[in-house]
């Protein structure tokens, strides 16, 4: 990797060790956020902080609103007319629904990886370069460098470097998911939203993704939605438990899993309630 690139993408100083939630810098600030699909409430009055350069996991039973919450963070609901919203979301102190905010710009800053790997119908290289080209990056050398850096960051470079120009659809599921992560990283987001990123993958691919999440933490904020509580326990720093659109409990992951404050939380994480 060239010197310029390593400078540009130099990881910031390692964040301070987990200590006190109150001492963490905020990435997202949600206040009184309610969302409804077609009048049916999906999120009720959520107020919470998502700390910068940490992995925050959302857990909860199906339909509890955790994916809805994730999609609210990069305004992916905008295209859906049936969704109505109340309350505010601030990213680095700025309201993301403010009229001067450009949605495309917001989504570039807040990248997202979905449950099903969704590479585009083009080559591996073009997939990773997609977001960059949208921003008008045209120079071949610059693209080459960033593509290599992004694939390397997603721990995929060694597997695809000889097949950069063949179709991305020919990759295995786990490779595709890492390609999608590389594609998202290529536009250098500040936040990475992960919507059950490993639920469609085999155990080995899952391990690779989790490892990747731990590595990426040093340079960006990660928000993870997962059904898998072991996964939340393994990779996240903070965990929020949602139920029926409400925030039930939010604490450091160790605390939440070993010493939950509420009976509802304990029931869920010990499997006494679906």
């Amino acid at each position: 990797m060239s010197a310029t690139l390593s400078n540009r993408h130099a990881p910031p100083a390692t964040p301070p060790a987990l200590a006190d939630f109150a001492a963490e810098a905020s990435c997202f600030d949600l206040s009184g956020l309610s969302l409804a699909y077609d009048g049916k409430p999906a999120l009720r009055e959520l107020t919470l902080r998502i700390p910068r350069q940490r992995v925050t996991a959302f857990i909860g039973p199906s339909g509890c609103g955790k994916s809805t919450l994730l999609r609210a963070l990069n305004r992916l609901h905008d295209l859906n007319d049936e969704v109505s919203r109340q309350g505010h979301i601030a990213l680095e102190g700025q309201d993301i629904h403010a009229p001067e905010v450009d949605v495309a710009d917001l989504r570039r800053r807040v990248g997202m990886v979905f449950q099903t790997p969704n590479p585009f119908p083009m080559s591996v290289y073009d997939n990773v370069a997609f977001g960059l080209r949208l921003q008008g990056v045209k120079r071949k050398r610059q693209l080459d460098e960033i593509v290599e850096w992004a694939l390397d960051s997603a721990a995929l470079w060694n597997e695809v470097k000889d097949h950069l120009h063949s179709s991305a659809w020919a990759l295995s599921g786990g490779q595709q998911q890492r390609l999608v992560i590389a594609r998202t990283l290529a536009v250098q987001p500040e936040v990475l939203l992960l919507d059950e990123p490993a639920s469609a993958l085999d155990p080995i691919s899952t391990l690779k993704i989790e490892e990747l999440i731990r590595t990426l933490k040093s340079r960006l904020t990660l928000v993870l939605v997962t059904h898998n509580m072991q996964q939340a326990a393994r990779v996240s720093d903070y965990t929020a438990f949602l139920q029926a659109g409400e925030l039930v409990e939010y604490a450091a992951t160790d605390t939440l899993f070993t010493n939950p404050r509420l009976q509802r939380t304990e029931n869920y994480i010990t499997g006494r309630m679906s």
Partner: protein, 528 residues
């Protein structure tokens, strides 16, 4: 037994049987068209038939039928067989075919000296060659031997063929452009220019007259097998062969030549004589133009219905209407094309742009453009429905993936959704091509011509003449088969044209399928 009662064991056979029957029917269709159509070009032996009353005639045996005539059955005669011969010599006999009772035939021979001539007028001649004449003076007679005479005929036929080609070349490249310039120039040309052009045209016409004279130099003296003689100008003879003297290989070569002539030459008259090249060309060109028009329209309409419009009762209604359009009879589209496109739009275009040519219409009459547009309209629902289904099949997370990278809706559509829907669009185009290439009814109203030997593409600006009439295989088939007088003569041509139509559609479809396969294959890498 229990398995059978519950249907297990039976239904796969039923399903396989349906496929087998369908395949068999398609194979039988192609085999029938192939056998009947292609056999027409085979130089069959000429039989010299002697009848019981001593009269003789020569002809090619076409087929025979057994009839059980009422009167004969009463008389106890039973069935009798009648044989159909192609005897040619319409200028001598006034007829082209001859039915004879099989029992009246006493002798059938195939003498090597019998020749078949294909002529521009009067159809085939079957009989003997007596003499070759030049400017009315006999050059060579059959006293010199049949073979020597035959060789001389071949040499002269080659000369005549070259002269005919020269004449066509002069007409197309000398006379026609000059005549057009004179007609178009009008007052724009100065007096001297006009005079010069007129002189050039006169010179060109004189050269054609020279060629014409050279063509008229030779003539043949022919004799039918019953001894009647006939003088035949050689300039009107297109081909000559001696089927009885030909080896199977020579026959095969001759068959290939005649087939090629059928495919590559223009028609000589509306009755199906000559080739079908303009019809093949017209069909393919019209279908390609139709595809070029219908694809963008259909895809954009489908994109609107599926991606842009807010889904609701109105859009559902539009969707149902589009699907119902596919069921409207094609002749109705023809009427619409005639009324709205030809008379409405074409008539207005003529008044605005081609008013100097009125009252003779330019676009105000049926033509290539209107035919292509009418068929595009006809096939629009097919493309819309197929594209819409393709768009609807694209998973939501693919679109979201692009949006989450900061793509706009247009960029998502352009780079992710449309490429993924491409195979479905091409499926729509394939279905559209299949439907359009086989349509005849609307074309009769909006531009297909009975006889248009000039193809609508040439070296003259604008190269592609959208206003010109064109020939179409389907319409040609209808004309040859059902509007000509001579059914016996038309039948083999009908089979041949039908086979050709099937082949043309198959080739067009295969091209599109190949394209689709190629697009799909792009997304399969070397991994698996």
């Amino acid at each position: 037994m229990k398995r059978w009662r519950r249907g297990e064991g039976g239904w796969p056979w039923l399903a396989a049987g349906s496929v087998a029957v369908s395949l068999l029917m398609v194979a039988a269709l192609v085999a029938l068209l192939g056998a009947r159509g292609l056999a027409h070009f085979w130089p069959a032996d000429v039989e010299l038939v002697t009848l019981s009353d001593g009269s003789r005639f020569a002809g090619q045996r076409v087929r025979h039928v057994e009839t059980r005539a009422e009167t004969q059955a009463k008389a106890g005669g039973g069935a009798r067989t009648q044989v159909l011969y192609l005897t040619g010599n319409r200028d001598l006999d006034g007829q082209y075919w001859r039915w004879v009772d099989a029992e009246r035939i006493t002798k059938r021979e195939t003498p090597a000296g019998l020749i078949v001539l294909e002529r521009q007028r009067w159809g085939e001649f079957i009989g003997r060659l007596v003499a070759l004449r030049e400017d009315g003076a006999t050059q060579l007679t059959r006293d010199a031997g049949d073979d020597a005479l035959w060789q001389a005929l071949q040499a002269r036929l080659a000369r005549v063929e070259a002269l005919r080609e020269r004449r066509e070349w002069l007409r197309e490249n000398r006379v026609a452009p000059l005549a057009r310039r004179l007609a178009a120039g009008g007052e724009a040309d100065s007096q001297s220019q006009h005079a010069e052009l007129t002189a050039q045209l006169k010179a060109a016409r004189a050269r054609i007259a020279d060629v014409q004279r050279a063509l008229a130099r030779d003539s043949l003296v022919l004799e039918s097998v019953d001894g009647r003689r006939l003088a035949q100008p050689l300039g009107e003879v297109l081909a000559a062969w001696r089927p009885n003297a030909m080896s199977p290989f020579a026959k095969l070569a001759s068959w290939g030549q005649r087939l090629w002539a059928f495919l590559s030459e223009g028609p000589r008259a509306a009755n199906g004589a000559g080739g079908v090249w303009p019809a093949i060309f017209g069909t393919v060109l019209m279908v390609l133009l139709m595809s070029l028009i219908v694809t963008p329209f259909g895809v954009l309409a489908a994109v609107y219905l599926n991606e842009v419009a807010r889904q609701g009762p109105l859009i559902s209604l539009v969707r149902i209407a589009v699907r119902n359009l596919a069921g409207v009879p094609s002749i109705v589209y023809g009427v619409f094309g005639l009324g709205v496109l030809v008379y409405g739009i074409g008539g207005s275009l003529d008044q605005w742009l081609f008013s100097e040519a009125l009252p003779s219409p330019t676009f105000g009459t049926g033509g290539l453009l209107w035919a292509s547009l009418t068929l595009a309209l006809l096939t629009l629902p097919v493309v819309i429905v197929a594209t819409e289904e393709g768009l609807a099949r694209i998973p939501v997370h693919q679109r979201e993936g692009a949006l989450a990278l900061g793509a706009t809706r247009y960029e998502t559509l352009r780079h992710v959704v449309l490429p993924m829907a491409m195979p479905a669009m091409l499926t729509g185009v394939i279905l559209a091509v299949a439907r359009a290439a086989g349509e005849v009814a609307p074309l009769m109203l909006v531009g297909a011509a009975k006889l248009a030997p000039q193809v609508p593409v040439d070296g003259e600006f604008p190269f592609l003449h959208l206003d010109s009439k064109f020939m179409h295989l389907g319409y040609h088939l209808y004309n040859v088969g059902f509007l000509g007088g001579d059914v016996e003569r038309a039948m083999p041509l009908v089979y041949a044209i039908a086979l050709l139509l099937v082949l043309v559609i198959a080739v067009l479809n295969l091209t599109a399928i190949f394209l689709r396969h190629h697009l799909r294959a792009r997304h399969r890498g070397p991994y698996r």
